[in-house]
């Protein structure tokens, strides 16, 4: 590890759970951050600062003035520019020792398999159900971990899905479009720090999973109620009726592979 990086990461290398070996694991890791909005901004900043070796940041959108109360990667001067490029520039100014790849695209079924090549972990910074559905299915198929985060108003939730989780995203969060078509994704109010808290939790989860330390939110759903400042976690149990992860689990068990 170069001397300057030893200084840069010295405060986390001091942590016995991370140490030099953990730092080296981070530097060999590739993380895809799906979205450069409120969640993706903060998780990308922390993972870039922590020394994840390759950060891929995917977003199809342009920066708007209304983003700036929470999307801290962007500046007034970025308004109208692609978020992926604006994000990559900000991240590059924070840490020039790592590789940062902006991808100006909508993450969908058509491109996700290519984008996940060489990726170790996905951090969710999406603002809609459909993209999370795409991520969920691709991660189940590729056996990759991903960290869900979602926010609205003063509230947020997070959990981690890894190969071997009891549940998948679609087990626990039903598709809102199925019961209320057309009601999806209205513009929602949000206080910036709400996204910051959830994104920070996602970043901690990512570092823990990449280094292989601590106990993560796997099989637990964390919920923040910011207005009365309560945090609860609920234990997740298998959903035998899930049509998404059960077939994958059965297939993997039959193959004698790691059960999902």
């Amino acid at each position: 590890m170069p001397l300057d990086d030893s200084q840069r990461y010295s405060r986390q290398i001091q942590l016995p759970e991370i140490n030099v070996k953990g730092q080296e694991k981070l530097s060999r890791s590739t993380v895809l951050i799906a979205g450069a909005g409120g969640l993706g901004s903060l998780s990308a900043l922390y993972l870039t600062a922590a020394g994840v070796g390759h950060v891929i940041i995917v977003d199809h959108d342009q920066v708007e003035l209304s983003n700036l109360n929470r999307q801290l990667l962007h500046r007034e001067s970025s308004i109208g520019r692609p978020k992926a490029l604006s994000a990559a520039e900000s991240l590059g100014r924070l840490n020039s020792s790592i590789q940062i790849t902006p991808v100006q695209a909508t993450l969908d079924q058509g491109n996700i398999d290519d984008l996940l090549k060489g990726v170790d972990l996905i951090v969710d910074g999406c603002d809609n159900y459909q993209t999370r559905q795409v991520i969920n299915r691709a991660c189940l198929s590729h056996g990759l971990p991903w960290i869900f985060g979602g926010v609205r108003g003063f509230n947020g939730m997070a959990t981690s899905f890894v190969p071997g989780s009891f549940t998948c995203f679609e087990c626990i969060i039903p598709d809102p479009e199925k019961s209320e078509p057309g009601q999806l994704n209205p513009i929602q109010g949000i206080l910036g720090p709400t996204a910051g808290i959830i994104a920070s939790i996602q970043a901690i989860e990512a570092v823990k999973l990449l280094v292989g330390m601590g106990s993560s939110l796997v099989n637990r759903l964390m919920h923040l109620s910011g207005l009365d400042m309560r945090i609860t976690t609920s234990a997740l149990t298998p959903n035998p009726d899930c049509r998404v992860c059960n077939p994958v689990r059965k297939k993997r068990t039959q193959k004698n592979d790691h059960p999902v």
Partner: protein
């Protein structure tokens, strides 16, 4: 009987199910997530899952913004 509902003490009738609790508290979000004593409850179990005295119940409205 007394339960802890979203962090607050509430009195509810004995023998209610999760489904009845959703009606009782006029929860209008069809996607609400229910947690009972720190355990996620699947919607298919709402009709049969009984609420007991001193239970900790959370109604969580899914947050899908980013």
């Amino acid at each position: 009987m007394i339960i802890q509902f979203n962090g607050l003490e509430e009195t509810v009738p004995r023998g209610v199910t999760i489904s009845q609790l959703i009606e009782l508290f006029k929860e209008g979000d069809p996607h609400v997530i229910v947690e009972q004593n720190g355990r996620y409850i699947y919607p298919k179990d709402y009709d049969t899952c009984m609420v007991m005295e001193n239970d900790r119940i959370e109604f969580i409205n899914p947050n899908l913004g980013g």
